[in-house]
Each structure stands twice: as structure tokens, then as C-alpha cells.
């Protein structure tokens, strides 16, 4: 079949995640590495996994800690596993966990591994704040200074402003444009109205709330027991009581005058971790696991960050579908990462546009038409939250579980990422 991965088929046999909590709330004292470890320990228990069966781990953190730059290794050194499991972090921004899963898929498909844990975590409560370059230089120079005189000379060059910390911005290094500004630009260029965005955000909250209430969304959540306080069991960004009127009152953040992107129709800064368990189809059978879904294909794409930054999915999805050998119409479920409502709606516009397909893809037919009954059926990142490193694994898990519940044959994932990148993956049930 066209583009189907060579080698063994890879199954998603399990997964779980921590609750996703708004930065600065319930999980603010849990470091990203501990969120990832927590998700993986729970995965081990829920999957009745024998740690010695695991061959490799790919666990990501988009903004890594300077203290543990390879978070994956800290996870694979959990005492539930033997100490010899190699582990790597990969960075494709918000699609990092997807890339971790894709690498796991490739390693298994090629026969280089049988069992892989892939996932990620992010603590946006705990982002690394750096000293200024001048201050860092001073510290380095001081450590090398040999005489008191040298030290005094160095210290005398110190200025209080050198202490001004440098916080990482969610901005494109290549253009200086922040994510929010990009989303704002896309809303304007594609004519996505404020009300449309707010409605989409409201939909995300309502569906996520329903999914949490009926237990489908909470089924993938492992509680976190913080050192102090109550056990954390649910995503705390999901609102059951928001109304369109309330959302309309929020002021645009990135363009106060003519803008439409607000805190309400964008994904919040979030803490959380998630992991999935991948196995070769034969391995799963041999170890007695019933696959939830199989990975059918995936694709990545990139575009000029100066263009519409978050349009990556519109380029990656058609390739993934081609590789899967199926048309959009065969998709029974679609999970799109919701960075911003304007970004989701812009991409959908592109998927459905013949003109766009002709112009940007050189295809005569549009990518596909979205069936709103099968899109983000339990909401998405706007309501649930978006811990950068965890989202890809969360979406894969949410989709796989729902595909099993509905017994859907094909499902699609799309994720936009910093740098003008897009990721898409097709899962299949049988």
C-alpha cells in the first residue's frame, strides 16, 4: 500500500497522563520531570507492565530544565525499570511528544525495539529564568580569576541592571513574532471572526466537560498526590459554566484595538505529563496485550515562519493521508491540537478550500471536509490545557481510546508547532 510504513505494525497498547492544570495552580510545585515520571509509573501499573520488557524511551520537554536536560533519561531511570533502557528527548516544539511517538513507531517498525514508552511533560509553572549574559560572563570570569585584584576588577564592572533576568518568550527566534501575534495575524488574514473563535472555544469547554462528566476523558487521567493538599484528579481549566457573553467581554491580548484573540479562545499555560506505551503488533500479542489502535502513517511539514506560522497541519495532513492510503472521508474521528481557535479554524478553512489546495499543495481537490460530529469530540487544548511536551501524547491517547469506544477504523491527529511546523498521524483500529 502507498506509503504505509515498512516493517511491523506498531500498536498503541496503553497510556495515561496526569491531570492538566493551569500553570500556577494545583501542580505548580511538581517539576516537569516528576510529572513525566508520575505519568509513566501509572502507565506501568495500569498496563501491568514488566519494566524489563521496555527497550527504549522517548520522553520530551519543550523548554527543558538546565538541571536535567535529558528528561527522558530521568524517566527511564525510574526504579520500575532496569537501569539499561536508553532514552532520548526530542524537540519539535508542541509536536515533540508526537515526534517521540513517531520515533518509537519507526524503531519498532524497523525491528530495533519491541516496546517503547513515548511521551512528555511540561511545567509552565516552572520555566527556566536565566541570568543576563553580562552577569553569566561575570560569574564565569570570577570562577577563573586567580588573584584578589582580578576579582575586584571584575566585580567593579558589575552593574545592577545585569541582574535583570531573561525569561523565555514564546516567540519565534527567526521573526520575533509571538505565538499570539501569529494567531492574531491568521485570524485577520483568513477572516476568522471573534465570535467564531469564541464559539469554537466554548465548544471545546462544553465537550471537555461532558467527556469529564461521563468519565471518558478522566479515564486517561492518573491522579497526582502533591506533597500538600488534596489529590488532583481532574483537568482544572475546563469550564462548564462559560457563556458566549462572558467570552465576548474578554479583551484581545495581542492587538487591543482590532484584535480577536483573547485568553478565552487560546490554550492556557498548563502543567502536565502524558505517556503512551507502544509495541510491535507481534510483541503485544506475545505479551498478552490487546492493542487500542495501530499507527497507520504519519507526516511532518514545515513552512516559512514569516508566513502563517501555525498552518503546518494543512501541509502535513494531506501527506499523512496519502501515506495511509485513505481519503479524508474515511476518517471516523479527528483530533486537532487547539493552540488557538483562530489557528484551528484557519487550518480547517485550508483543508476545505479547493483554491488553497490548488495554490499551496498543487492538488486539484481540497484535503477534506470536516465533520463537526467527529472533530475534537471531547474538546481540545483550549479547554483541557496545553503542557507543550505532553500534548502530543495526550491527543494520541485520547484519540486511540475514543476510536476503541466508537469502534472507528481510522482517526487523524494534527498538531501545529513553533517554527512553522505541522505534524499529522493516522491511527487505525484493525
Amino acid at each position: 500500500m502507498v506509503g504505509t510504513s515498512v516493517g511491523r505494525r506498531v500498536a498503541v497498547v496503553g497510556g495515561c497522563r496526569t491531570p492538566f492544570c493551569k500553570a500556577g495552580t494545583a501542580l505548580k510545585d511538581v517539576a516537569a520531570v516528576d510529572l513525566a515520571r508520575q505519568a509513566v509509573v501509572e502507565l506501568v501499573h495500569r498496563a501491568n507492565l514488566d519494566g524489563t520488557d521496555v527497550d527504549e524511551m522517548y520522553v520530551v520537554q519543550v523548554v527543558p530544565s538546565v538541571l536535567a536536560p535529558n528528561l527522558a533519561r530521568e524517566v527511564s531511570l525510574l526504579p520500575q525499570f532496569p537501569t539499561h533502557i536508553p532514552a532520548a528527548s526530542v524537540n519539535r516544539a508542541c509536536a515533540s511528544a508526537n515526534s517521540a511517538i513517531a520515533i518509537g513507531n519507526d524503531q519498532i517498525a524497523a525491528g530495533r525495539a519491541n516496546v517503547v514508552i513515548a511521551g512528555g511533560a511540561e511545567s509552565l509553572s516552572d520555566i527556566p529564568v536565566l541570568h543576563s549574559r553580562r552577569f553569566a560572563d561575570l560569574l564565569v570570569a570570577l570562577s577563573r580569576a586567580k588573584t584578589l585584584g582580578q576579582r575586584l576588577r571584575l566585580v567593579s564592572g558589575f552593574r545592577p541592571r545585569d541582574l535583570t533576568p531573561v525569561a523565555p518568550a514564546i516567540a519565534e527566534p527567526s521573526t520575533g513574532e509571538t505565538m499570539g501575534q501569529s494567531a492574531e495575524k491568521m485570524a485577520k488574514m483568513n477572516g476568522i471572526a471573534r465570535e467564531e473563535q469564541d464559539k469554537f472555544a466554548l465548544r471545546s469547554h462544553r465537550l471537555a466537560h461532558a467527556g469529564a462528566e461521563d468519565g471518558r476523558l478522566t479515564a486517561e487521567i492518573a491522579p497526582v498526590f502533591p506533597a500538600r493538599g488534596e489529590p488532583v484528579t481532574r483537568d482544572n481549566g475546563v469550564r462548564s459554566d462559560s457563556t458566549l457573553e462572558q467570552m465576548a467581554k474578554l479583551r484581545p491580548v495581542f492587538d487591543r484595538k482590532y484584535g480577536s484573540v483573547t485568553a478565552g479562545n487560546a490554550s492556557p499555560l498548563t502543567d502536565g505529563g502524558a505517556a503512551v506505551l507502544l509495541m510491535g503488533e507481534d510483541t503485544a500479542a506475545a505479551l498478552g496485550y490487546e492493542p487500542i489502535a495501530f499507527i497507520r502513517s504519519y507526516a511532518v511539514a514545515a513552512l516559512d515562519p514569516g508566513d502563517q506560522l501555525l498552518m503546518g497541519p494543512a501541509f502535513a495532513v494531506p501527506v499523512a493521508l496519502d501515506r495511509a492510503g485513505i481519503p479524508w472521508s474515511e476518517l471516523g474521528l479527528v483530533e486537532m491540537h487547539e493552540a488557538f481557535a483562530s489557528q484551528v479554524l484557519s487550518n480547517i478553512q485550508a483543508f476545505e478550500s479547493r483554491a488553497w489546495a490548488e495554490e499551496r499543495l498543487g492538488r486539484s481537490e481540497p484535503v477534506g471536509e470536516v465533520d463537526w460530529n467527529t472533530l475534537n469530540v471531547m474538546g481540545g487544548s483550549i479547554a483541557i490545557g496545553h503542557p507543550f511536551g505532553a500534548t502530543g501524547a495526550r491527543i494520541t491517547l485520547t484519540l486511540a481510546n475514543e476510536m476503541r469506544r466508537r469502534d472507528v477504523q481510522f482517526g487523524l491527529i494534527s498538531v501545529c508547532a513553533q517554527g512553522g511546523m505541522g505534524f499529522a498521524m493516522v491511527l487505525e483500529r484493525r
Binding site: 515520571r37 509509573v41 501509572e42 506501568v44 501499573h45 495500569r46 501491568n48 507492565l49 514488566d50 531511570l77 525510574l78 526504579p79 520500575q80 492518573a222 491522579p223 498526590f225 506533597a227 488534596e230 489529590p231 484528579t233
Partner: protein, 711 residues
């Protein structure tokens, strides 16, 4: 293999001496080693080709574990003991005075006589390794360091630090021993020999190693006679408080140190030797050595008669019920056995509380520097839990610690059997319900066993493994092995009401209650037993155990054995008022901020006690002690424990029965069954039938037979 312990290799004028006692796992110093060392010292004195020597061990993880304990146990007279220790002193002095300097290269345990030999060396290099432990633990078996340890250690590290080490019988890890100045250098095991050889070469060339000077505070205490006198007096008071006058060894060691520091090494050695001779053949040391041997033997006892199956490893532990007990078991399983622990309880708040308690046990070890920050992080990741049975499919052993109710336990067993593997052991931590009753509903009753931990689990050293008639041998040996891995002293006990510890404890606590009801004060009852050597009195113990728990246990025993074991009057009234002991902040005593305060006078009214007691003081002690002794004899007769050894160990480690008395059965043996029968008859006449001597005691009195076979 040669039958000699020492091999000497001369490399460039340095004698490399390797001690490797043939046929032993660890090096100890016995007669033949002493003879060989003597010969070596002759050679060092006469052979001009040898400029220095290095003493190494050929055993992994053991430099020298101490003097040969069998030789010590075989001592029958004071004179023989004196001769033995003088011999040892002479040998160690020869090392110290050798004109050829000797370097000790220490890897592994370096204890007692082994450390005393090292102390006599000119230089000590130790490895920075987990296996390296250094100390003078002699007082723990009722004797004192008598090969110069009480002389050379204070001269090396100062009086106060030395007393600290010797009086408590401490064993220090290498790093702390180095910091205390007990060794001169700390190195990686891979370079130990090289560094020691190099040091020997330098010493031969006239190098005098510089020892660190003491801190100002150290200099003021250890460096002046007034300071030292203060140190002796402080230590003397501390020892008196700690031993209650029951253990002579620490005080003897203190005198030996003081005498030697005041009148010189030679006089000190004489004092060391004469104290040793007296203590070595004394009762206290004999009892402590017996307990040492019993626990050592228990460590090797698989728990079932030969041929015993191999224990199956426990890597994943499930715990049902994350209350204080379950959490304690989980915490210790993590800190000591490093297993993956999964809790299950009915709601997440309970699971969270249990996890927090278990984490607390890990944190406490971190605070006491028993583990590093990195260890703690690893261990904490082993604790998890939920409200469902996820993860229990991985379990090799599940311990249930749910509410003491048979229906609840049955429900747990049914649910567990639906989710665990067929080869998973199911253990109950019940203290009152027969294991066979719990096993009634099991599809595989052979895998059910009792694991009766004591509270608080991280502090109480005993574990009773309860076996029923259907418990399969592999289950017993696996439970025993795992309990041992958790750091517990494990005894295997039959499935009889109250098992062993609670069985012999109940009549003792009941008797305390009777005395209260007869007008005896809480303090006088507690004092009687602490004076007799218990760490706490029975009333304090009741408060610690929890009055509800004691009441429940007592009730079960009364049902099984009738009025002999009827609970103390007034206990029901105490519990119905919510006075459950320490955990509720009030029992017989009041508790504030976790600290025991005064007796709560209100209890006398609740108990409805007369204001004066007519019980003579000596009867208070006798009634309490003999209630326990008599019940021990009955329980042994019924086969509750496999041997008197297990019974005594259970009483010492489970109840705090005074170790210097050896345990209830040793105590009965020491005083003779006939005397015990007579005392019991007197008590029965005065205080009631419950003191009727146990049939076993009557038989023993008639046959003049002890519990322990005489050797």
C-alpha cells in the same frame, strides 16, 4: 588452599599481609590467628629486609568482624577470661610497639577486636564504601572493648567522642569514622592497597602522619582534666538513665576509659581486663549473647522444616488499606527492600494520606542521613496507589491491612483473587482474626499467610509470620524472606488466637488493669515494670497500642480461653469515652503535641478504683511478670511457636521484654520451673485462679526439665 589465615608477601621491603581465615565468610580473630600474628610480629622484629607492613583482608566486605565469639562463649571461668583478654592485649600492644610500622587497610566491617588491632597500627586507610563500617560494639553483648579499645580510641579521637562510640556500641560508616578521626584516610576500594603500601613506605622512611587538631570545644573538654571530668560525669548519668542499672558493661567501659586516661595506658589495660573477665562470664552478657545467637540463627532459618523450597522474590508489593499500618508497611518495604509498592484504598483521600505517611518514612531516613537525596527520590517513585486494582496484576505479594472485620477481609480476598496472579501471595496483617477464617473464602487458600507487623512498623523490629495448616511451604519461606528483607526479625507462629506476642501480652496488660481497679496508681504500675527492665510500663504500652486495639485482642482471647484472659475492667468504659490512647490524645495519660504528659486523673473515676491499694509492692511486679510468664508456658505447650528461641525473641523484640533476662522462657529456665510453680501457687491463692500454674510448668517442675535443652 592453605590452612593458614595469614599470607605474607614482601614487595620492595614492605610486607603485604593478607588475612583470610580459611573456611569462614568473615575474618575473626581466634587462637590460631593470634598465633600467626605473633609469628608475623616476630618476623617483623627480626627480618631486616622488612621496613613496614600493611594488613589487608582477603574477604570481600569484611576486614575483621571482631574476636571469635565462639571462643568467648566457651569461657567458663573468670580466670580463663582474664587470661584470654590479657593475651589479646599483649598481641595488640606488640603491633603498637612494633619498630616496623604497620598500616591497616580497611575495607568492609572493622569491628571490636578488629578495630582494636587497627587502632594499634601506625596508620589507617579505609575505603569509602557502603560495606565499610567501623566501631566497638562490645557493650551490645554485655562486655567492653578490652584489647586496648578503651585506651587507644580516647587517645586518638578524644574522650567525649570515644565515650560516645564505646558506650552505645556504635558502628559508623566510613565517612563518619573518617570525620571522627578514627581513620586517617578515605580512598576508593580500587586504590586501597596502593595507598596503604605507599603510606607504609613513607612511614618506613620516617614520615610521621599529621593528625588533625581538635576543635576549640573538643580541646576544652578532651584536653583538660576538668573538661574530661565533666565528660565522665555527663556520660555516667546518661548511662545510668539508659541502662536503669541493669546493664553493667557501659559503666565498666566508662571506668576503664577514665582509669586509663587518669593513671596511664598500662593501668587502664589492667582495668579493662578485669572488667572483661567479670562481665564475660556474667549472666547479663550470657543472655545478650544468647539473643545475639538466636537472632543470627533466625536470619538463616527459612521458616519451614527441611527440605525447604527457595523463597520466591518479591519485587512488586500490593497493599490493601492505606491506613497507618498499611502505609507503615509500604514505607518500610520501600526503604528496606526497595520494592515497588502499590496501595489500594476506598477513596483517593485515604490513598493520598497513606502515600504521605509512607513518604514520611523515606523522608525521615533522608533526614537522618541514612540515604542520599538521590536515593530518596528513587525510593519515593516506588510509592503509588489508587482506588481500583490496577497494578495488582504485577504483585508478587499483597498485604491486606484493612479494618479488622472478617466480612471486610473476606471481601478483600475475593477481590484480590480476581485480579492478582495465581502465584501471588496474599498476606493478612490482622492481629485478631484467625488466618484460616480469612482463608475460608479463598480459591487458593494455600497462598494465604499472616504477616503480623507491629505499630509503628518503621520502629518495631518484629514480624510474626502466621501459618495455617494449608499455607504452602513456598508461601511461608517467601513471606519470611521478604520480612527479613524489610529488616525485621521474623518468627513463624501458628494460627492460634492472639498468635504469640498478643497472646502473652494480653494477660500482662489485663493484670495491669486489675491492679488499677484495685487502687494501684498508673505510675506505680508503670514504674514497677520499667524497674524490672521493660522500656515502658504496661499502662503506657496500652496507650501506645491503642485501647480499642487492646480491647479487641483481649476480647478474642477471652472468647478462646475464657476467664483466665478476661479483659481488664473499665477498658470498655475508657474506649466508649473515646479514650483510645496516644492516637486520640488521651488514654490513661494525656498527650499534647505528640508528647506524653501526666496521668489523666479522671481515669480513676472511669475505672471506679478505690483511692488506696492494698497490694504489696513486690506483688505488683510478680503479678504482672508471672501473668506473662505463665501464659508463655501455656502457649509454648500448645505449639504456638516452633521453639523456645522464637518465643523469647518474639517477647524481646515484640514487647520489649528485658533482653538481659533473655526472654520469658530463658527467665523461667534460669529460675527453675519449681520456683515458678511455687510463686504462681502463692499468687493463685491470694489473687485468683488465673495464676494456676500452666500444666507445662508443673511437668517441668516434676521432671526438673528446662525449656531449652541444657548444653
Amino acid at each position: 588452599m592453605s590452612d593458614r589465615a595469614l599470607t605474607v608477601d614482601i614487595v620492595d621491603g614492605i610486607a603485604k599481609v593478607v588475612l583470610d581465615l580459611p573456611g569462614a565468610a568473615v575474618n575473626t580473630i581466634n587462637r590460631s590467628v593470634r598465633d600467626e600474628l605473633d609469628a608475623l610480629l616476630d618476623q617483623l622484629a627480626s627480618d631486616d629486609g622488612i621496613q613496614a607492613a600493611v594488613l589487608l583482608s582477603g574477604k570481600p566486605g569484611s576486614f575483621i568482624a571482631g574476636a571469635d565469639i565462639d571462643e568467648f562463649v566457651a569461657l567458663r571461668s573468670r580466670d580463663a577470661a582474664y587470661q584470654l583478654v590479657r593475651d589479646g592485649q599483649r598481641l595488640v600492644n606488640r603491633i603498637a610497639e612494633s619498630r616496623t610500622p604497620v598500616v591497616a587497610a580497611i575495607h568492609g566491617v572493622c569491628l571490636g577486636g578488629g578495630f582494636e588491632a587497627a587502632l594499634a597500627c601506625a596508620y589507617r586507610v579505609a575505603t569509602e564504601d557502603r560495606s565499610t563500617k567501623i566501631g566497638l560494639p562490645e557493650v551490645q553483648i554485655g562486655i567492653l572493648p578490652a584489647a586496648g579499645g578503651c585506651q587507644r580510641l580516647p587517645r586518638l579521637v578524644g574522650v567525649s567522642a570515644a565515650l560516645d562510640m564505646i558506650l552505645a556500641g556504635k558502628q559508623l560508616p566510613a565517612k563518619r569514622a573518617f570525620r571522627a578521626g578514627m581513620v586517617d584516610e578515605l580512598v576508593h576500594p580500587a586504590v586501597l592497597e596502593r595507598v596503604a603500601m605507599e603510606a607504609a613506605r613513607k612511614l618506613a622512611g620516617g614520615w610521621r602522619p599529621k593528625r588533625r587538631s581538635r576543635s576549640l570545644r573538643g580541646a576544652m573538654i578532651d584536653g583538660t582534666s576538668v573538661g574530661r571530668r565533666v565528660a565522665y560525669s555527663v556520660s555516667r548519668k546518661a548511662v545510668a538513665k539508659k541502662t536503669g542499672g541493669h546493664y553493667p558493661a557501659p559503666l565498666a567501659a566508662l571506668h576503664a576509659v577514665e582509669h586509663g586516661m587518669t593513671y596511664g595506658m598500662e593501668k587502664g589495660l589492667e582495668v579493662e581486663a578485669s572488667y572483661f573477665a567479670e562481665l564475660a562470664v556474667g549472666d547479663v552478657s550470657r543472655r545478650l549473647v544468647e539473643i545475639f545467637f538466636a537472632t543470627t540463627a533466625l536470619k538463616k532459618d527459612p521458616g519451614v522444616p527441611a527440605p525447604s523450597p527457595d523463597p520466591r522474590p518479591v519485587r512488586n508489593l500490593g497493599i490493601v488499606g492505606s491506613g497507618f499500618m498499611g502505609a507503615g508497611i509500604g514505607g518500610v518495604a520501600v526503604t528496606h527492600a526497595g520494592v515497588d509498592v502499590r496501595f489500594q484504598d476506598t477513596d483517593l483521600e485515604r490513598v493520598g494520606a497513606g502515600l504521605a505517611n509512607a513518604q514520611g518514612i523515606v523522608q525521615e531516613r533522608l533526614k537522618r542521613r541514612r540515604i542520599t537525596k538521590h536515593d530518596a527520590r528513587r525510593l519515593l517513585s516506588l510509592l503509588s496507589g489508587g482506588t481500583d486494582w490496577q497494578g495488582f496484576g504485577r504483585a508478587d505479594l499483597v498485604v491486606e491491612a484493612v479494618f479488622e472485620d472478617l466480612a471486610v477481609k473476606h471481601d478483600v480476598v475475593r477481590q484480590l483473587e480476581a485480579c492478582v496472579r495465581d502465584d501471588c501471595i496474599i498476606a493478612s496483617n490482622t492481629s485478631t482474626i484467625p488466618i484460616r477464617s480469612i482463608a475460608e473464602v479463598a480459591t487458593h487458600p494455600g497462598r494465604l499467610v499472616g504477616m503480623h507487623f507491629f505499630s509503628p512498623v518503621h520502629k518495631m523490629p518484629l514480624l510474626e509470620v502466621i501459618v495455617t495448616e494449608t499455607t504452602e511451604p513456598w508461601v511461608t519461606v517467601s513471606a519470611v524472606a521478604f520480612g527479613r528483607k524489610m529488616g525485621k526479625t521474623v518468627i513463624v507462629v501458628g494460627d492460634h488466637p492472639g498468635f504469640w506476642v498478643n497472646r502473652i501480652l494480653a494477660p500482662y496488660l489485663n493484670e495491669a488493669g486489675r491492679l488499677l481497679a484495685e487502687g494501684e496508681s498508673v505510675e506505680s504500675i508503670d514504674r514497677a515494670m520499667t524497674k524490672w527492665g521493660f522500656p515502658v510500663g504496661p499502662i503506657t504500652l496500652l496507650d501506645e497500642v491503642g485501647l480499642d486495639v487492646a480491647h479487641k485482642a483481649s476480647h478474642v482471647l477471652q472468647q478462646a480461653f475464657g476467664d483466665r484472659l478476661s479483659p481488664m475492667p473499665g477498658l470498655t468504659r475508657m474506649t466508649s469515652e473515646g479514650r483510645l490512647g496516644r492516637k486520640t490524645g488521651r488514654g490513661f495519660y494525656r498527650y499534647e503535641g505528640g508528647k506524653k504528659r501526666a496521668v489523666d486523673l479522671a481515669i480513676y473515676e472511669i475505672i471506679n478504683a478505690p483511692s488506696e491499694s492494698t497490694v504489696p509492692k513486690e506483688d505488683v511486679t510478680r503479678r504482672l511478670v508471672y501473668a506473662m510468664l505463665n501464659e508463655s508456658a501455656r502457649a509454648v505447650d500448645e505449639g504456638v511457636v516452633r521453639s523456645p528461641r522464637d518465643g523469647d525473641i518474639g517477647a524481646v523484640f515484640g514487647i520489649g521484654f528485658p533482653p538481659f533476662r533473655g526472654g520469658p522462657l530463658r527467665y523461667l529456665d534460669a529460675h527453675g520451673a519449681a520456683a515458678a510453680v511455687e510463686t504462681l501457687r502463692t499468687l493463685a491463692e491470694k489473687y485468683g485462679d488465673r495464676f494456676e500454674p500452666a500444666p507445662r510448668l508443673l511437668r517441668m517442675a516434676e521432671d526438673d526439665a528446662p525449656f531449652y535443652p541444657t548444653t
